[in-house]
Each structure stands twice: as structure tokens, then as C-alpha cells.
């Protein structure tokens, strides 16, 4: 099965960091064989998205890579295309074509003869009868005026409506079923009417239907113009009616204003010259291009026609390019809003530690304690009880095990920690969302915690350290500090060391398990404040192993390891 672009997409996504395995690829193949995702590119994108993308942030990554890999090759894994590619087309000679054409002409000739000679009188009678009938019957009136379908912002709009009825003597009434509120409608009672008004004014006498407005304007955006829906109806005295409905497009009259300045002239000339250069380059390249030849071959054209096709296609290419040149020149002098294409995808993974690894480490921080209402039956304890007492009085119930670990995360923010902002954000986010919403408190400080810790990143919500420590509700709270401890600056600051030592002293009185995470690698700690602080509290660098060891300390499992 020819799905190389799919494999390319798969490898790209894997390299981008999505946890995809070979069975995910096989699942997509299986679905394609069953017929899902074969209609068009969007269906294929949806299929891959459902199977491979599991969160909203991966979606953007996927869209980007999909455009890149599937757009480059125009082959979609379509079942029908495979058969045409593999089949060998026949060579058709020019003589055959002529003969066949001649043959078909002869057939149609006879047919025409038959029809024209068969029933002239009958046809004549039929037509005569029908016209008499139509002539007698009442005819439906129709609109013969062509609607004006655009209006400039703030300008006058006038549409002279004219309706015509084949029965000359019929009296016609025209009315406006829906029209925007800035237009007024007047029926002159003789088959003409006028619809006029100034755009944006409030004086129209038309009915305004907000629901229609909503239906038509749900996609209003700066690029797409706004439409006003108008529906007119003409009725004659016998009740026959017809309708004319159209949309009035609101256009900006900015399009006609052209800025003439020296820079715009230079810009236009530069663009024109560059386009001309590219055209000449492309046309020169095309004559040696293999692609067009291959396409003609597969379409089954004969070799003799090949050259003619090529020259024709070259000519059309040149004409097309000239048209495009003209269009771009007009556009560049008109457009004011240039969309800034987002050429860089923001991937939220930040080495040395991926989000997934962080999440896994947080899950490791748990303390399962049996707390709450005793509901579960402890079979072994019951049996022991029976054995001891000799009779079975009642079962032994124990409460369920709940994760009762409480984490206080202190994050150093700003200053020397600015390059690690992403890391700290990831750390806090994974800590909160990894199922630990009630059990985690996050506080921010700058360089070293003195007196106050803040609940937000901008130091607007202070709380005193004493308050926080006194209100630690649960025993066995763990405190994890995320800071560079002066290692980023690379120098030894005795004041900072002293303040931090004081804070740690205060902390150790209330909290048993403290660990320090340092984003700077261990090799840089020696000779800096971090080196000194590392002797006071277990400090780990921020890697998978480091975080794991830090969590082990917080669980109380590593004893006094100073690693």
C-alpha cells in the first residue's frame, strides 16, 4: 500500500516527542483499509488526529507536521489512484482517433435525420396546443431588474426594482420580506419599487430579523466581508408570486485609496523585477521538467501529441504567470493587513526533563495512609480474630488507603531564575494537575525567602512564613524548594547563604522532609552559594534521576542522603 507520506508524518510526530508506537501506525493502516479517512485530506487528518493526538497542545504540532508532510506529496492513499498508477496505458495512434471520430459522426447524423423527419406535424400540433394553454393561463410575475449586490460603508445605496407580468393588465404589488434596517422600501404600485438608504444609518423602514442576521453573519471576521440578506416578493392580483433574494456585500472603500509614496513605488518595482526573474527561471526549467511528461504519459496520451501538449502547457504557464504578476502588483498596493504567519511552533517540552517524566515523579510522591470511615473488610485480621476468640463475632473493618502526602512547593522566581521560567512553570503545572490539586501549595519568592512568601508570580499576595508554617495542617508535610541557590551567578554570596540557612533552620523545626531542586548542573555548584547550601539540605540537580531522588527524600525513604 502506497502510504509513504503517512510514514513520514508518523516519524515526524515521533521525533517531535509524541509517544507513538508501531501499533498506532498499524491502527491507522487498518482504519484506512476499512474505508475511513479516504475521501479527502481533511478526513485523513481527522483520522490521524483521533488515533494519535490525545491533548489540545499536541493538536497544533500535528497540524503543522501534517501540512508539511502530506502537502509535499500530492499522493493520498486512495484506492482508486493505485490502480491507475499501476496500469500501463495503451498507445493510441492518430489514425485511430480520426477513424473513431468519423464513426461517431455518422451515428449522430442518422439520429438527427430521424428526429427531424419523424413527426413534424405532431410536434407542431403539440407546440400550438401548449402555447394556447399558456396564453390563456395566468402568468407568474417576475423581477426583471438586476440587484445591486454591494454597498460601500457609509455610502448611499439605491436599487430600482422592476417587475414584469406577461398578463399586461395584472396589478402588481411588491414587498420586501426581509431587508436590513438601514434601507427603506417604497412600492410605486405600478410594477416598480425602490430600495434605498445610507449604509449604517438608523432611518430605514425595513423589518430587521436578528435571527437571519445571526445565521448569515456567524463567520464575520476582518478578512470576510459582512453580508446583508434581502428578500423581495412580487405578487399579482390572482395570487401568483415570485421572489428575488440576494445578499448585499459590505465593502470598505479603503480599497480604492492608494498610497503613493516613494517607498511604495520602489517596492512595486522591486517586486516586479523579482517576479520577472522567477518567471524566466521557471519557464527555462519547465522545458527540462520530467514531471509534465510523466503526467501526460499516465493520462494515456500518445507520444506524438506530447510535444504539442508541452508547448501548449508552457504557453499557458507563461500566460498564467503574467496574470499572477498583475494580480500581485494590484494586491501589494492595496493590502494593509499582513497576516503574520506563525512560523515557529511552541513546543512545551523543555529539556532536561520532559513533562511526562515530571508527572511520573510526582505520582511517586505518595503516602498511602488508612484514613476515614472503615469500610473495607480485612479478611486476614478477621480470621486471626476468629482464631483467637474461638467464635466469630464481627468482621474487622479497616478504612481505605488514601494518598495523604502534602507538598509545599517553593519556587524561586525572577532574577537569576529567568532562564528557567519554562521549567518552573512545567513543574508547577504538572504538580497541580497530576491529581494532587488539594494536596499541593505553591509559593513564590525571590532569591531567598525572607519574611514573606507569595502565592502568585508577581508578588501581589504575600503570606508570612510563620503563618504558612503554623497552618500546615497535615503532619509529614514535604517541602520542595526549586531554586538555583546562587549557582547561576557563579559567585559566593555570604549574605544570601546566611539568610537561606536561617530560613532552613526555621523550616526544619516544623517540617521533617525538605529537598532542594537546582536547575544548574551539579558540576557548577562548587565554589558558589549553592555549594554551601548543599551541605545544609539535600540538594539535587534537575534531571530525571535528580527529581526521583528528591522525591525519595520527601517520602522519607532515603534517610540522610546528601547526594
Amino acid at each position: 500500500m502506497d502510504n509513504l507520506p503517512l510514514l513520514e508524518l508518523f516519524t515526524r510526530l515521533r521525533e517531535a516527542g509524541l509517544p507513538l508506537g508501531i501499533d498506532d501506525y498499524q491502527a491507522v493502516l487498518q482504519a484506512l483499509q476499512a474505508g475511513f479517512g479516504l475521501e479527502n485530506k481533511a478526513a485523513l487528518a481527522r483520522l490521524c488526529r483521533t488515533l494519535w493526538i490525545k491533548s489540545a497542545q499536541d493538536q497544533k504540532l500535528f497540524d503543522y507536521h501534517f501540512e508539511k508532510s502530506i502537502l509535499n506529496s500530492n499522493e493520498l492513499p486512495q484506492a482508486s489512484r493505485l490502480t491507475t498508477v499501476n496500469a500501463i496505458p495503451e498507445q493510441v495512434s492518430p489514425d485511430d482517433i480520426v477513424v473513431e471520430a468519423y464513426k461517431t459522426v455518422r451515428w449522430s447524423d442518422y439520429l438527427v435525420l430521424l428526429i427531424s423527419s419523424a413527426i413534424p406535424v405532431g410536434v407542431f400540433v403539440l407546440v400550438f396546443g401548449v402555447t394556447i394553454n399558456i396564453w390563456r393561463a395566468n402568468k407568474v410575475p417576475i423581477f426583471i431588474s438586476k440587484p445591486i449586490e454591494q454597498v460601500e460603508k457609509g455610502k448611499l445605496y439605491r436599487y430600482q426594482i422592476k417587475a414584469y407580468d406577461v398578463n399586461r393588465k395584472d396589478k402588481l404589488t411588491i414587498k420586501a420580506v426581509t431587508c436590513p434596517s438601514w434601507l427603506s422600501f417604497k412600492d410605486y404600485q405600478n410594477g416598480t419599487a425602490v430600495l434605498e438608504g445610507t449604509e449604517g444609518s438608523e432611518e430605514g423602514n425595513c423589518q430587521y430579523d436578528p435571527f437571519e442576521e445571526l445565521l448569515n453573519n456567524r463567520n464575520v471576521s476582518p478578512e470576510k466581508p459582512k453580508f446583508y440578506n434581502v428578500k423581495l416578493q412580487v405578487k399579482d392580483e390572482h395570487g401568483a408570486e415570485s421572489e428575488q433574494s440576494f445578499n448585499i456585500k459590505l465593502i470598505n472603500n479603503n480599497n480604492t485609496v492608494r498610497e503613493v509614496s516613494i517607498w511604495s513605488i520602489i517596492r512595486d518595482y522591486a517586486i516586479a523585477i523579482s517576479i520577472l526573474l522567477t518567471i524566466t527561471y521557471v519557464t527555462l526549467g519547465r522545458s527540462k521538467d520530467k514531471n509534465t511528461r510523466e503526467k501526460n504519459f499516465f493520462a494515456g496520451k500518445s507520444v506524438s501529441n506530447n510535444k504539442r501538449e508541452q508547448i501548449q502547457s508552457e504557453n499557458s504557464v507563461i500566460i498564467n504567470n503574467e496574470i499572477k504578476l498583475a494580480e500581485t502588483l494590484i494586491k501589494t498596493s492595496q493590502t494593509e493587513n499582513i497576516k503574520h504567519l506563525n512560523r515557529f511552533i511552541q513546543i512545551i517540552e523543555y529539556p532536561p526533563l520532559s513533562r511526562r517524566q515530571m508527572k511520573q515523579s510526582w505520582r511517586y510522591l505518595r503516602r498511602m495512609v488508612q484514613e476515614g470511615v472503615p469500610t473495607e473488610i480485612d479478611v486476614e485480621a478477621t480470621i486471626n480474630n476468629i482464631g483467637r476468640q474461638g467464635v466469630f463475632l464481627e468482621p474487622v473493618l479497616v478504612p481505605c488507603r488514601i494518598n495523604r502526602s502534602k507538598l509545599v512547593l517553593l519556587v524561586d522566581h525572577d532574577g537569576s531564575m529567568i532562564p528557567f521560567k519554562n521549567l518552573s512553570y512545567q513543574l508547577t503545572e504538572t504538580a497541580m494537575r497530576g491529581g494532587r490539586l488539594d494536596n499541593t501549595d505553591i509559593y513564590y519568592f525571590h532569591n531567598c525567602p525572607i519574611d514573606y512568601l507569595y502565592r502568585d508570580r508577581y508578588y501581589q499576595m504575600p503570606e508570612t512564613i510563620e503563618d504558612i508554617l503554623n497552618h500546615l495542617r497535615l503532619p509529614h508535610t514535604s517541602v520542595l524548594i526549586f531554586s538555583d541557590a546562587g549557582a547561576a551567578r557563579g559567585s559566593f554570596n555570604p549574605e544570601r547563604e546566611e539568610v537561606t540557612a536561617q530560613f532552613l533552620q526555621q523550616l526544619k523545626q516544623q517540617v521533617r522532609h525538605i529537598a532542594w531542586l537546582n536547575p544548574i548542573p551539579r558540576s557548577r555548584w562548587l565554589g558558589t552559594t549553592a555549594g554551601k547550601i548543599a551541605q545544609l539540605v539535600p540538594m539535587f540537580e534537575l534531571s530525571r534521576q535528580g527529581l526521583h531522588n528528591a522525591i525519595a527524600v520527601l517520602r522519607g525513604q532515603s534517610g540522610n542522603s546528601r547526594l
Partner: protein, 311 residues
């Protein structure tokens, strides 16, 4: 041998879900007696459901609260004519609770009664066989059933973080072992599993890998119109249009102010609101809809929102 071939054939012949078969107004569920409501899914959602059925993988749905994630499973069961089993997860749920419950206390009690000779002969026989104390829950019943079942696992992110990983074996290999009796229960037909999540917690990656994911978008204006017409076919069009216009305006304002993450008015609130509005005479309601939104308590659940949008 022939039986297995027939079983395989049947396995692949589960019909396709189109989202077009709707219950008639007033039709009730035969088992619970509850009124059935129509469900109009997005075509992309229909595609995702068919993909999940074909690949025999669970379908994970995320979306705003009130966008109809839970109703989808019921609608799929209705259209395909299959049984529907629901498992509503609580924060204390264990993975085993979805499969079976073993009544240990009941067995001990019966043993106690047997020791004092207070049981009838049938009840004596019951004690010897531990399998009689097992009650099957949603997934267990789905595995035992003789036809494919639709299983809904609702709000899986409420449970503990390890909970989804505990279900991996059951969802992957479609079998589980009852530890009390050492019985191996293999699924006769792979169930159609629909899992909903409110996105409050991240689910573990190993679990996500096994599922297909679909985000249920908020319907656009035409779809909302179709949904309301399906629920209230006898309602006057003018009322529906004006109410819908006010609703969409309110939602746009909330979207601008709160962005993607905040709580906005949802489809289920719209349906409840319309249900309230139709109890009153039409012209009274139409005139009320011109001014402040009437019965705002059905749409706005927050004092801040009330101050900002209603007053």
C-alpha cells in the same frame, strides 16, 4: 471451530452508527422507564464513534460540561439496538468495582448462620460455592453478555490517578480474573467503551495510548437550532429564534471575557431554559426576551457572571 467462525463474523458485523436514528417524542426506555431524548451529533463525532467500533478501542471524550458527552453512549446504544451499561466513577472508585463485587461480609454471615444451624438446605449449598457471592458490575456484565454492549465510563478523571492504569489489562486484552474464585472471564464480544473526562486531571500516558480521543466541540448556530427543534418540535419558531439569538449573544460575550477555559453557558442549560420558557404564554415571553434575560438562574450559575451579564 464453526462456532468460532460464526462468532468472528458476528463480531465484525456490528452495524454502523450514523447519528440519524432518533427516538420518537414520548418514547421511554424499556428498562428504566425514563424519557428518551434525541441526540444530534457532529459528523466528526460520528466518524470517531465508527472508528472506535471498528478498531475495538475505547473512545475518550473531552469537552465542556453540558455538551453531551454522557448522552452519546446512550444514543449509540439506542441506534444500534444494543444493551447499555453505565459506570459512574466516584473519587473512591477502584478498578475492580467496575468488574464485579464480592460480598465477603455476606458470606461470613452465612457461615455464621450455618454454624448455628439456622439456614435452609438451599442456602447451605450456596455457601460452598463462592461464585454465588459475586455480583457483576458494568464491565463484567458487558464481558459476559451474549451480544456487544455499550459501556459508559463516566468522568474517569474523578478517580485516583492510578485508576485508569488499573483498567489497562481489561481494556486491552478483554479479560479479567476473579481473584476469589480464580475464574477467568473472557469477553465474548468486544464492548463499545465510551469514556468521558472533565479534564480536571491529566490521565496517564499509557492509558491515553490505548484510547481514541475526540474533543466534543460546542455546536454552531444551525446545529443548536436543529437540536432545539428535535427536543421541542411543537414549539413556535419565533420563540425559538429569539431565545437562541439571546443565548448566542450571551455565549459570545462570555467567550470573549473568559476565553477558552472559563465556564460558559452550555447546550444542556439552553435546553433547560427553553423548557422553562415554554410554560409561559408566548407573547409574554417574547416581550420579556427583549429586555433582561428572564429566568437567568437556569443559565448563569455564578454571582459574578450574574452581575456582569444580567444586570
Amino acid at each position: 471451530m464453526v462456532g468460532r467462525m460464526v462468532k468472528n463474523l458476528l463480531r465484525n458485523s456490528v452495524a454502523e452508527y450514523t447519528g440519524l436514528v432518533q427516538p420518537h417524542p414520548g418514547e421511554c426506555d424499556p428498562k428504566t422507564g425514563q424519557l428518551l431524548y434525541p441526540y444530534l451529533p457532529n459528523p466528526e463525532l460520528v466518524e470517531a464513534v465508527n472508528l472506535a467500533i471498528y478498531l475495538q478501542r475505547p473512545l475518550l471524550l473531552k469537552g465542556e460540561p453540558g455538551c453531551g458527552k454522557t448522552q452519546l453512549a446512550r444514543a449509540v446504544a439506542y441506534e444500534l439496538g444494543l444493551d447499555f451499561k453505565a459506570w459512574y466513577i466516584k473519587s473512591t472508585s477502584r478498578a475492580r468495582d467496575g468488574l464485579y463485587t464480592y460480598d465477603a461480609v455476606g458470606r461470613l454471615r452465612d457461615a455464621q448462620l450455618a454454624a448455628s444451624n439456622r439456614l435452609t438446605p438451599e442456602q447451605y449449598q450456596r455457601i460452598d460455592n463462592p461464585a454465588t457471592y459475586i455480583t457483576w458490575n458494568a464491565l463484567g456484565e458487558a464481558f459476559i453478555a451474549e451480544q456487544p454492549t455499550v459501556v459508559l465510563i463516566d468522568e474517569i478523571d474523578k478517580a485516583d490517578i492510578d485508576f485508569p492504569n488499573d483498567l489497562l489489562l481489561e481494556l486491552d486484552q478483554l479479560f479479567f480474573i476473579v481473584s476469589e474464585t480464580q475464574e477467568v472471564i473472557q469477553a465474548n464480544f468486544p464492548p463499545i467503551v465510551v469514556i468521558t473526562s472533565n479534564d480536571e486531571k491529566d490521565l496517564p500516558d499509557a492509558f491515553l495510548r490505548r484510547c481514541l480521543f475526540h474533543y466534543v466541540e460546542f455546536p454552531n448556530v444551525e446545529q443548536l437550532f436543529a437540536i432545539i427543534n428535535a427536543h421541542f418540535p411543537t414549539e413556535s419558531e419565533a420563540l425559538v429564534r429569539t431565545a437562541l439569538t439571546r443565548f448566542v449573544e450571551l455565549r459570545e460575550k462570555m467567550l470573549q471575557d473568559k476565553g477558552e477555559a472559563g465556564k460558559k453557558v452550555s447546550t444542556s442549560e439552553l435546553i433547560d431554559w427553553l423548557r422553562v420558557l415554554r410554560r409561559y404564554p408566548e407573547d409574554e415571553i417574547l416581550s420579556k426576551l427583549e429586555g433582561k434575560i428572564p429566568f437567568a438562574g437556569v443559565l448563569i450559575k455564578n454571582w459574578d457572571d450574574h452581575k456582569r451579564y444580567i444586570q
